[in-house]
Amino acid sequence: MKLHRLSALAAFCLLAAPAMAAPPSDAEVIRVLNRVAFGPTAADVAHVREIGIDRYIAEQLNPQSIPESPELTRRLAALDTLKLDPIQLFQEYGPVRAMGGVKPTPDEQKARRQRSRVIVEEAQDARVLRALYSRRQLEEVMVQFWFNHFNVFAQKGLDRIWVGAYERDAIRPYALGHFRDLLLATAKSPAMLFYLDNWQNSAPGSRLPGGREVGINENYAREIMELHTLGVDGGYSQADVISLAHVLTGWGFARPREIPHDRSGFLFDPARHDFSPKTFLGRTIQPSGEAEGIEAVDMLARSPATARHIAFELAQYFVADQPPQPLVDRLAARFSQTDGDVAAVLRTLFESPEFRGGGEKYKTPYRFVLSAVRAAGLQVTNPRPLIGMMARLGMPLYGCPTPDGYKTTEAAWLSPEATTHRVSLATAIAGGRLPLAAPAPADMMASPAVVPVADKPEPAPVDAAALETLLAPVLSARTRAVIDESPPALRAALVLGSPDFMRE
């Protein structure tokens, strides 16, 4: 009887636990904000303390439920090129076309290329402003994660005009959606078709609209399996690379002379498609034109190897450079059970003891810069200096040339130069002398790390006391002691440049 009552009580306590739980410790709150968001702000810490970690995660997994910041929405609305679809972008910013038989001069082409720079700049501004100020932080984290997973390089040819549209059309709508939709959207995006050359991948002996004879190109077929889906050990062969390249012949984008299917810019050209039967990953794919590629995308999206590959990448990004295998296995199982539902996989991840009690990660340059600005509570209207910092630290935004994207591990980013450079940048941010509120400087690559000279705006140093209060729970006693003994003018710099702040 006594035992029975005791267990009833225990059961009651267990059931009631979420409501009665002690508020999370500040260190736990900051830890979650370091993963689910781009680091803590004073406002976010207060919010999570109030509603608890579980409710905060639930909110973030359902971004449509969170009203977006009106100020952010207003600022994004001013970025005009982000409103253009890929076809408009090609018409307005792509290479100048011959008019009435007169070919454009090299100077005209150069002027057009220079005019198109605004597209990458606006895409960068939008990305950084959202990462800093969006209330839908997890969505921004996943936009960055998936863009990096399906990387394209803004400095390769036409990708300079499509990089913003790519993120808007192919990545952002599916950041917490189904992996298969994300994969197909990237496969059909003009930016990816150009970047990995599939727009030229054609049945042997066929011709491009200009008349040039073309044939097979393996580039995208290899990388979609190695990097986007199965992983390098995912069980495909060179023969599979070649047959997938044949399956994807004719997948390209609409040139201005061509009539597009829709406003996405994707165009399937049956004249360049190889209509013979193919054997891909042991299965026969019957000739059906564009549908063959969709069948292959479905096979890849639903392969257990893809589930394992994506599970590993998520666990590595959110938990540890060498993620625990049992966690990876559970995430892969969840991925397969839910047909690649990213939000469902993330829910499993965020509820896991490995995530809640896990170790630290070394911040990538992207996360370091963003988290410093967020912690300092700076109101940035001109993100150019921050974008310059990311480039200086080896992680230029939209500037990874190779399709594997940036690594997220300490081994990739911790180096002597990175450490001293971060310290310098932290000092620059803390000193309040960066033109973060000024109109964009003429030279966007001007080094933010340079010791400022006169004729800059009046410095507005970061409030060291507020910063210390915010981050105290994750600063070691040693770090706090050193900071307390240092000149007050350097304390904010020391917090942001501390070894503790470079980890999350």
């Binding site: 030229q200 190779t402 001293t420 450079h421 070894p499």
Partner: protein
């Protein structure tokens, strides 16, 4: 040579004992340039003596020497891409050699695995924890400082990761600009924060020392460059020039590494002109400038240019090339026995190609590097075995590659 003869010869030469080596140190140094993305070696050192080359590459082949825009004659069988004309004086001075049909024995066509296998020195094995240049650094005699090994760029590449400190430094136009950490009051405050024995503190201290040593020299040389009409930044000649000045001023630099990207020419790679030519020209000019600027230090320097794999022997459907296997290694330096294309040429006939499509690998890149490290950096067999565990032994036909 047919395939069977070739295999017999390989078996014989693999059995040849011992790297020529003594175990004393010298001021010699090794500069490694890695072409990430897989450069098309068949269009760098062109096998124009073989008709199959032209048959396989109807639009992208480089013509025979003597013809319009043809290759630059090397030895009758091979010619150099004309965009590399800047290197011909080194070839003529017998300070530039090539090892053709060389590369990694691992057959992967993944850029990223293949680059790792070049950098970790253990093809086929991903879990090796350090890079071969770091192991090489450990094998060099003498006290070690943080500028003994230098990587150009904002990140430290895997090839230099490991137990010993290695510096990394961007050598772009802004490299010598002052940073907050150069202010003494800022530095002394941060020094106290990074006083531990953890990885971050160690990195910080290495970074501080490297910055102090290298950027003072950089600032001086930047001034000289400005006076001399500096070449545009972000080009290899500029980087090579800065590297040469650093080496000239800091004798402690024994190993240097630079990676250059943009070689993954799947589409329209061009022939004597075009994308590949546009990439090769600054590289060739930069290497020639490095040789020139190093002046008397050139005699103590060997430069090795490697890439993760070669590209398909046959051009693809888009006037480009896809991922292949064998490639060519470039070796330059004052003591290189150059003017010669080394290696065993496997041929480009269908039956001679790796998996029917790629140039075969007949010289393991580790054998090439180990030969250079043994002869030029004077390392012994046991040291070389630690740098490249399990690598095939020396090749008789590489024995003369570098003077000792």
């Amino acid at each position: 040579m047919n395939r069977r003869d070739f295999l017999a010869l390989s078996a014989a030469t693999f059995a040849t004992p011992a790297w020529a080596a003594t175990a004393e140190g010298g001021p010699s140094r090794l500069v490694v340039v890695m072409l990430r993305g897989a450069v098309d070696g068949l269009n760098v050192v062109v096998p124009h003596g073989e008709q199959a080359y032209f048959d396989l590459r109807p639009t992208i082949a480089i013509g025979k020497p003597g013809g319009e825009n043809g290759a630059l004659a090397l030895d009758g069988h091979f010619g150099l891409h004309p965009a590399l004309a800047g290197l011909m004086p080194l070839w003529q001075a017998k300070q530039l050699a090539f090892i053709h049909a060389s590369g990694s024995p691992d057959p992967t066509r993944s850029h990223f695995d293949a680059q790792l296998f070049i950098e970790n020195g253990t093809p086929g094995r991903r879990t090796t924890e350090d890079g071969w240049m770091n192991r090489l650094l450990a094998a060099l005699p003498g006290p070690r400082g943080p500028t003994d090994a230098l990587a150009v760029g904002p990140v430290l590449p895997f090839i230099l990761k490991g137990r010993l400190a290695a510096a990394n430094l961007p050598l772009g136009a802004a490299a010598a600009q002052k940073q907050a950490i150069d202010r003494p009051e800022v530095a002394s405050a941060f020094d106290k924060l990074y006083a531990g024995t953890d990885a971050q503190s160690i990195a910080y201290r290495d970074g501080r020392m490297a910055r102090t040593e290298l950027t003072a020299e950089m600032a001086d040389s930047e001034q000289q460059m400005a006076d001399a009409g500096a070449p545009p930044a972000n080009s290899y000649p500029a980087i090579a020039g800065r590297l040469a000045r650093l080496i000239g001023q800091d004798k402690r630099i024994r190993l240097a590494f630079t990676a250059l990207g943009g070689w993954d020419t799947h589409v329209n790679q061009g022939n004597h002109k075009g994308q590949l030519a546009n990439r090769l020209k600054p590289l060739g000019d930069g290497l020639a400038a490095l040789a020139h600027d190093l002046a008397r230090n050139w005699d103590d320097t060997v430069v090795v240019v490697v890439s993760e794999f070669g590209r398909t022997a046959k051009e693809n459907g888009n006037a480009g090339t896809d991922h292949g296997h064998g490639n060519v290694i470039w070796v330059a330096g004052g003591k290189v026995r150059g003017g010669k294309v080394y290696g065993d040429w496997p041929g480009l006939a269908a039956a001679q190609l790796h998996e029917g499509r790629d140039l075969a690998v007949t010289t393991d890149y580790r054998t090439a590097v180990a030969t250079i490290a043994g002869r030029h950096l004077r390392l012994g067999d046991s040291q070389l075995a630690q740098i490249f565990p399990g690598a095939p032994s020396a090749r008789a036909n590489l024995a003369e590659l570098v003077e000792t």
